[in-house]
Each structure stands twice: as structure tokens, then as C-alpha cells.
Symmetry: C2
Subunit: 276 residues, 2 copies
């Protein structure tokens, strides 16, 4: 397995590979990431994984500084998965003095995480455009846990005609339902024991919807109710949207997606679930 | 010579070509464009030229509607130049309903033409990113007449790691000094006879600078003086900048670039000249 840190090294390495499946990550890998790597291995001649805590997608310096990192461990994990190349770019090379370009996405990027985290999706779209241009993968793999991010990526890849096929895989969950996230590592033991409530709240809405409930407000209220009863009151958003537009409708349709963002102590967690 | 109108046709055609030199144009070709095509032929196995009046880089619907077009004539000219493929995309395919992505460039894009034509450079950067992703050229060719555009293209290509080499060729001029521009066709005969004054004004500043004048204000005043004495009073800007930053300095350096934008009747013309 090759380790690349400069753009030039990565380009040279890429030229030696056939079809490439790319898994962009911010590191601190969990089973969700590894499920993406395994799918990428099945579908491509080689897998490239990036480990890069992308500074421009963080709104607050604290959030950036606190994001968990474990590069040595990540590299060891990826070696076992038969990855061809790990790319750990240097932020100073990626964003040198004078860097002045941003990929701005409207539409789906303007909802939910958009206003909650100003500049976040522009940072994501910009760094992914850079990665796609350097790694030139045939396919790239994302987890449904970041449902809105997946929609944003589909949008700008299509709009800019980037020649990469985007695959979204289901959210990997612990046995208790908690969605895999690098941020889970920052939960205290007590918070971690309460975190599966996010999934339970989404399941409650799904059960109601499958039982015939179509009123968005009622479904959202059911989710909130489960959260609040479990003492999770720092709710950023709870919503049920049309996953094409990420906008709400009074009566939810057959493709409706429930999403939430909740703060548990110092950690903001997101999760989502299709209702049907 | 192959004509492609859809993205899929262009991708299929491109796959048959070796190294590609790409000349993006808005059509209504003049000798300046053809000089780019000839250089592209020398340096690549095949040349692809796009003819596309890109709606998203025009601020006003009138300017877009009035932009000159002559696709049949352009195609005939390109056939004679040994071009492999002409790409005339369809605006409805390039910007379908729901299109929501924009490549925003800061820095150099924020000066001169930036505030004069809001959204212009974002439109240019967005369409070129699309073209680069579809045509996947090794090299792309631009004319120095659009000096600031060249700097903007260099900026976002570098920032987004787009794998294309940008070449800028000197401004092609008529014998009387008038810079080649598709917009020249919209000048009346009387306006056309006065248009070479733009070049003469720039030459005046160059002569002063070479004679030892380094005060920016004096150089700019000399340019304005030539324009106004010739009756060209609708001046959008006249400036001498550092071509790295497109910002002004009180005392101009050895790389200084003089630029102007002037309205002649209904037509806005730009031109520029390195002072040394």
C-alpha cells in the first residue's frame, strides 16, 4: 500500500492504477468507512482512500481542532483492507496563500445543514472537486448517514460534468442503532449510552408513517417527543423532507426522509432514515 | 471534422482522440481565435473547439441577445484549420432545470471586470470547468486580450487541481492596432474608424513608461487623455495594475499591465498592454 502526501505523488501513483474506486474520508475510520472501502474493492481494480480533515468545511476553529484524528491506526486498518493507495494531503499545499476558488452549491445545499453550518457544503464541494481532479476515480463512495451531503455531491458532480459515478451506501449502525460517526468517539460514556435514542426517534416516525400517518408535523413531533423524553433537548433540527429537494411538504410522500441534528453534550450528531 | 452537440457525443468523440488541445470560444471567430487553433494544432494530436455563447456569463439579457453569432461560417473556418471536433453544446442540456452549482473565484476576479460585470467570472469559471471535465484536454488556449480572464482561469485551474495546462497567446490585432474581438462586428463604420484609439492610448502609456515614468496616476491620465481627445468619453475603467494581483500600486513595477474598458456607442470594448 502506497502513502502519498503531495499532489504530485498522488498523480504519479494514480497513473499506475487501472479503474479506481475512491473513498474520501476525514479519517478516524469506523466500520461505516470500511464498508465503503469493501464495496469499492469489489467494483474497481484499485481503491484510493483519502484521510484529510478538511479545514475549509469547518465553521469553527474549535470544531476543527476537536475533530478526532488517528492516522496511524487508520493506515493500519486500510492496509488490511487491500487498499492500493492512501492520500493524506498537506493542508498548506491544498490551500496555499492566494487560494481563492470555491465550488458553491445552491438548491439542496441551502437547507438544514446549509444554514446550520455556513460554508460547510462549499468546503465539501471544493475539496471533493480537488480530490476528483487529482485521483480521477471511476467511482466514489459515500455513506447515507450524511444524506444531505450525498445529495449535494450528486448535484455538483452532475452540474460540473465531473466524470465520476457516485455510489451511496446505507448507514452503518452499531447493534444498538447508533449510526457510525467519527464524532461518536468524543461522547462521554453516559452520552454514548443515550445516543441510540436518535435512531429510536427516527424509527418511531418510520413506524407511524408505515402505519399510515402522512402529516409531516405529526411525524416531526413524534421524533421530538422521543428525543425530549430521553433528555435530548438541544435539538438543531428535526424534519421530514422530500429527498430530491430537501424541502418540506405538509403531507409526506413515498420517498420521505426524516433527518435530525442534536447536540449531546459538546458533540453535534446527525442521523436520518427513509420513512418507507 | 466531427460536430458534437450533446455531452455524450463529445465524450465518445474525445475517447477516440489522443492528446487534445482545446480552444473554448463564443463563436463569431476572428483571426485571434484562429491563432489559438493553430498553436493548439502544433502542440497536440487533436484540436477541439467549442462554440457556445454561454448565457450565465452575461449580466444583461440584451448583451446576450446582441452577441454576434455565425455558427455555419465558424464551422467552415475550423474545417480549414484541421480541427478534429467542434462542440456546440445545447444550453438546455448544459444548464437544466435544477442546475445549482457555481465556481466562484475571488482574488483577481474581484477587480475591474469583476465589479463591472457581476457574475461574469463565475459564469466563465463554471462553464470552463464543465468543458474541461467533458473535453478533458491536455492543454487549453486563451488570448491575452482577455487578460483578466486569463488570470482568473489560471487561478481556478490551479486551485481546483484541474489537470490542464493553460496557454495564453498574445492579442491578435488588425494592422491599425484594433484588438480582435467578436464584438467589433457590432461597431458602426464610424465607430470602427475610431476604435484603434484604444490601442493608441495604451501605446502612449507604454512609451511613457519605457521613457522612465513610473507614477501610476500619470500613466493612467495619459491613457485617459488620448481617449477623451478622440471623443471616447464613456470610460468604464482605465488602470495600470500588477498582473499577479490585478491591484494598483502607486509606483508601477516592471511587470505592470495597462487595461481599459470603454464604450463606443452600444459596444463595450476592452484592451490591455504590458508596459514593458
Amino acid at each position: 500500500m502506497k502513502l502519498c502526501t503531495t499532489v504530485q505523488e498522488m498523480r504519479q501513483e494514480r497513473a499506475k492504477l487501472g479503474t479506481v474506486g475512491f473513498v474520501p474520508t476525514m479519517g478516524f475510520l469506523h466500520e461505516g468507512h470500511l464498508s465503503l472501502v469493501r464495496r469499492a474493492r469489489e467494483e474497481n481494480e484499485a481503491v484510493v482512500v483519502s484521510l484529510f480533515v478538511n479545514p475549509i468545511q469547518f465553521g469553527s476553529p474549535d470544531d476543527l481542532a476537536n475533530y478526532p484524528r488517528a492516522v496511524e491506526r487508520d493506515i493500519a486498518l486500510l492496509q488490511k483492507e487491500g487498499v492500493a493507495c492512501v492520500f493524506t494531503p498537506d493542508a498548506a499545499e491544498f490551500y496555499p496563500d492566494g487560494f481563492a476558488t470555491q465550488v458553491d452549491v445552491g438548491g439542496v445545499a441551502q437547507e438544514l445543514e446549509g444554514p446550520s453550518r455556513p460554508g460547510h457544503f462549499a468546503g465539501v464541494a471544493t475539496v471533493l472537486t480537488k480530490f476528483f481532479n487529482i485521483v480521477q476515480p471511476q467511482r466514489a463512495y459515500f455513506g447515507q448517514k450524511d444524506a444531505q451531503q450525498c445529495a449535494v455531491v450528486q448535484r455538483f458532480v452532475q452540474d460540473l460534468n465531473i466524470p465520476v459515478e457516485i455510489t451511496t451506501l446505507p448507514t452503518w449502525r452499531e447493534a444498538n442503532g447508533l449510526a457510525g460517526s467519527s464524532r461518536n468517539s468524543r461522547l462521554t460514556e453516559e452520552e454514548r449510552s443515550r445516543a441510540p435514542v436518535l435512531h429510536q426517534a427516527l424509527c418511531r416516525a418510520r413506524d407511524l408513517a408505515r402505519g399510515g400517518e402522512r402529516r409531516r408535523m405529526v411525524l416531526e413531533e413524534a421524533i421530538r417527543d422521543v428525543l425530549v423524553k430521553a433528555g435530548l433537548t438541544e435539538i438543531d433540527y428535526v424534519t421530514v423532507v422530500n429527498p430530491e429537494t430537501f424541502q418540506t411538504e405538509e403531507t409526506v410522500g413515498e420517498t420521505a426522509l426524516a433527518l435530525l441534528a442534536v447536540k449531546l453534550g459538546a458533540v453535534r450528531l446527525i442521523d436520518n432514515m427513509p420513512l418507507f
